[in-house]
Amino acid sequence: EPEVTQTPSHQVTQMGQEVILRCVPISNHLYFYWYRQILGQKVEFLVSFYNNEISEKSEIFDDQFSVERPDGSNFTLKIRSTKLEDSAMYFCASSRGINEQYFGPGTRLTVT
């Protein structure tokens, strides 16, 4: 069964550094999403992406965040200058239409 994959599984970075989190959505899906989950808290929507552009973003998704689909398969989330409070689990998800989303296993980001 096709699944969403994410790399790396765990990323440790120093405050102020740039990180890129990578995702490979399910191949025939058209909508892509990023969510984050700070430890012990609920999952929060960051951004949705369709037809090579952002379709919606939350207040969390400020200028230090960006997303890109650099080729036909990858979907990336870049954090330009990481802060301690960016430490969280980041989940990529994809969907065929505006309906059920399938999540990847997540990338644990630790900012020190």
């Binding site: 379709s55 919606e56 969907s95 505006i98 059920e100 989303q101 399938y102 999540f103 990847g104 296993p105």
Partner: protein
Amino acid sequence: AQTVTQSQPEMSVQEAETVTLSCTYDTSENNYYLFWYKQPPSRQMILVIRQEAYKQQNATENRFSVNFQKAAKSFSLKISDSQLGDTAMYFCAFMNGGDGKLTFGQGTILTVHP
């Protein structure tokens, strides 16, 4: 803005028994979807079941079923014949029919005891 509330931070159940997890939501929309996701200790988010708001019939998926009460804005998950592998955090989630953005509840930790 939509909100999703799960009022049970923790629940426990004996293996083979039935348990119901509660969820309420608030929206002014008429076209929306509701979901239950399971998050085991591995932290992977796994889709358990979904319900379209326009459908009156409650969704079922093997041992998992929902009780969708649209007027009351309630969407509970019933797990029958609980198994040890059902131990996980369960999140209720809402999606407006038009935007694809999931809004999650705070989660309920379910522990299944042998």
